[in-house]
């Protein structure tokens, strides 16, 4: 039997909470699978090189992950993630991800991009999966076809993370000092679970005796219990879950503080972060936003997180603060100040780039002089 095709999968997709659907389908279709591996500086540099400077870190990571698979696999699996909940859609950058990657790496890698949109029902998603592997499949196609329908149906139930570097439960059980604060870490899985991109935030917190709760630790029922709080459901799948998890923790008094890990320039988080900040303030919960991008210095994150944890620890028993909202904003990425950025050599070329190194400060004139 000819050796079966090797399909590469970008590492970030591992943290999405439903990767078992495509892992099972592709494996049962007779393909060999390989994830692109944990993020390294090289993957980030590759990502920066082949994506637009305005893209957020996660988009650059996925570009870098695809680029790192070049020449090592027969196809790269990169689905068009549209909708798996029936209501909320994915961020527009995921809606257009295959087209963005094809625009910069189209001649170097061949993509398998089934369109996953459960609003059109499981049959349409199954058909799209089968369509994407037509002509490539081994003998196993028949077996995969029958299992596919219930695999697709299971998209709705997020799996727990086996890939999490520090499973939340471990931090709770392993004898964390009883009076250590509990912190809810809010953020998208492809950031929070990515050791490099999150600069080991969860691991560092656990290491300082913090009991860490993460969004996947909040049950579906608890997420649903706060939906009445919103005039409109937040549009995007992960943002909706992150905001609801934050609202739940505020309501249930389950945490002593919230840390929101967000990517610099993230569109949906401009809304999600403000909703969370307002809710934390209303509940008197300390709230810290850590915004990261490829220029973020680890030292910056560590000092600010430690200050936040100290502040929570100094109060005996870590009980809540009446109204005092330690809302340490400002983004870590030395944005706005000249930073020696190891990743991007480009200075500001007039157009404000995420990394302000070299931006000509006199350029930032008042936004608008009313012309006579």
């Amino acid at each position: 039997m000819a050796s079966s095709l090797l399909i590469g999968i970008p590492q970030s997709l591992k943290y999405f909470g439903f990767s078992r659907v495509w892992e099972s389908f592709l494996a049962e279709s007779g393909f060999d699978l390989v994830y692109s591996g944990p993020t390294t500086k090289d993957v980030v540099d590759k990502g920066i090189e082949c994506s637009v400077s305005e893209a957020c870190l996660p988009v650059k990571l996925i570009h870098g992950e695809v680029a790192s698979l070049e020449g090592k696999v027969d196809r790269v699996f990169l689905p068009r993630l549209v909708n798996i909940s029936g209501t909320t859609v994915f961020c527009p950058k995921f809606l257009g991800m295959p087209d963005m990657v094809r625009a910069s790496l189209g001649n170097k890698v061949e993509l398998l991009s089934p369109r996953i949109d459960l609003r059109k029902g499981p049959r349409d998603v199954s058909r799209s999966f089968l369509e994407s592997v037509r002509g490539l499949g081994e003998g196993g196609m028949r077996a995969a076809r029958t299992r596919l329908r219930d695999l697709v149906a299971s998209l709705r139930i997020p799996q727990d993370f086996d890939a999490a570097p520090v499973a939340a439960a471990a931090t709770v059980a392993d004898g964390t000092p009883e009076d250590g604060p509990t912190i809810g870490v809010l953020g998208y899985p492809y950031l929070v679970e990515n050791e490099y991109a999150s600069m080991g935030l969860v691991r560092k917190l656990a290491g300082r005796g913090v009991r860490v709760l993460k969004v996947p630790d909040v049950s579906e029922a608890d997420l649903a219990s706060v939906s009445g709080e919103f005039d409109k459901q937040v549009f995007w799948y992960f943002s909706d879950r992150v905001v609801k998890a934050g609202y739940h923790w505020c309501r249930a008094g389950a945490v002593d503080g919230l840390i929101h890990l967000t990517a610099f320039g993230c569109g949906p988080d401009a809304i999600a972060d403000k909703l969370l900040e307002l809710e934390a303030r209303r509940s008197g919960l300390p709230y810290l936003t850590v915004s990261v991008d490829e220029c973020s210095g680890e030292a910056g994150v560590v000092t600010r997180v430690e200050a936040f944890v100290d502040m929570l620890t100094r109060v005996p028993g870590g009980q809540r603060y009446g109204g005092m909202n330690h809302n340490v904003e400002s983004d870590v990425s030395a944005y706005g100040a000249v930073s020696s950025c190891s990743h991007c050599a480009n200075g500001g070329n007039g157009e404000r780039s995420h990394c302000a190194a070299g931006t000509d400060a006199t350029d930032a004139q008042p936004w608008h002089q009313v012309r006579p």
Partner: protein, 349 residues
């Protein structure tokens, strides 16, 4: 009625709005707050359903405004074609003067005529400016025309004012032999249509001798989105090869319109978008491939409150110069090939 956005409006929106919000969100928030300060107690705005952020503005604004203690009544119009009952209910609620359906439409008609007149005047200005032999003459003619349209009352007078304005513009001394570089402008609707937000880029381009073609005017947007939802069919069809998915905002339109402009033989395209604008970031990535395959240079601007005019102007000057040399080069190639009867170059006609 809201005033034209000013620096103060933006400062308000930036102060109370999220840092990474896109420019339109900050400006609309600032406009609401200025309106409230001038005594408004009701905000009428548009909703939307995503996937980009516009549709969520109203819900976020409401939370921000109540967070700073102004609980103002917000009437949000969702896309009428898919929210018929809801739209009618809101019109009735706002219709305190109990105007009949017919009279409401009669009211809207001159407003639309006025918008149409302003769009036509602007197009004429964009055509006249790079050809004017007396610097600033077309701008003056345009301003005069706009004043006449604003002064006119009723559809007939508006039409007359428009005709007079157009005549004025056409009568400015122009060099008809001029063959200016033609630049298409694509991107997010707010920064395309609000000159204050794009630092008067069209005027700068006109001054640099370029003829600007805008892919979107308010009137064809109104026809596009309000009357026929997703009206930009031709642009979306042209984008299909590069970006087949609806990514929200005008991402697909930016890609499709660039393909159309390339096929129409324009010399270059400028993409305009607010900083962090999600659909336009997707479009910018895809436009790199369109630019290569259709050999049309594309320059992207992501604007926000810190964008400097000097920086923008230098990039525009470099872009227009490049297009001029490229256009001259192409013209020389045609005449050369015609002389020695070789297979003529595939020239952008």
């Amino acid at each position: 009625m809201p005033l034209e956005p000013t620096q103060r409006t933006l400062n308000l929106g930036t102060k109370y709005g999220p840092e990474f919000a896109c420019l339109p969100l900050k400006i609309t928030l600032g406009t609401y707050m200025e309106g409230i300060q001038r005594g408004a107690d009701t905000i009428v705005t548009s909703g939307g359903v995503g996937p980009c952020r516009a549709g969520y503005y109203s819900a976020l604004h409401k939370k921000i405004l109540s967070g700073v203690g102004c609980d103002v009544r917000m009437v949000v119009f969702e896309p009428p074609m898919s929210h018929k009952r809801d739209t009618l209910a809101k019109v009735k609620m706002l219709n305190s003067a109990h105007l009949s359906g017919l009279s409401i439409i009669e009211l809207l008609y001159p407003v639309y005529a006025e918008l149409l007149a302003l769009d036509h005047l602007e197009r004429a200005l964009r055509r006249a400016m790079p050809r004017e032999t007396v610097k600033g003459a077309s701008e003056a003619g345009y301003k005069k025309g706009v004043e006449m349209v604003f002064a006119a009352a009723g559809t007939r007078q508006i039409r007359e004012a428009e005709a007079e304005g157009l005549r004025l513009l056409r009568s400015t001394p122009q060099d008809e032999t001029a063959d200016p570089v033609r630049i298409g402008m694509v991107g997010e609707i707010y920064v395309l249509l609000e000159p204050a937000s794009n630092l008067y880029m069209e005027r700068v381009l006109g001054e640099l001798g370029a003829e600007v073609h805008k892919s979107m005017y308010l009137t064809n947007w109104i026809m596009g989105n309000v009357v026929v939802e997703g009206g930009g069919f031709s642009a979306r069809k042209a984008a299909a090869k590069y970006l087949p998915e609806m990514v929200g905002g005008h991402g697909q339109d930016s890609v499709g319109n660039t393909v159309i402009y390339a096929e129409q033989g324009l010399d270059g395209v400028i993409q305009l978008a607010p900083f962090t604008c999600i659909p336009e970031i997707v479009a910018k990535a895809v436009l790199a491939r369109v630019s290569e395959e259709h050999s049309i240079p594309v320059l992207s601007f992501f604007l926000d409150e810190q964008t400097g005019e000097a920086g923008m102007r230098t990039r525009l000057e470099a872009f227009v110069d490049m297009l001029k040399t490229r256009k001259a080069g192409a013209a020389r190639a045609v005449s050369a090939s015609r002389n020695n009867k070789r297979e003529p170059l595939r020239v952008i006609s």
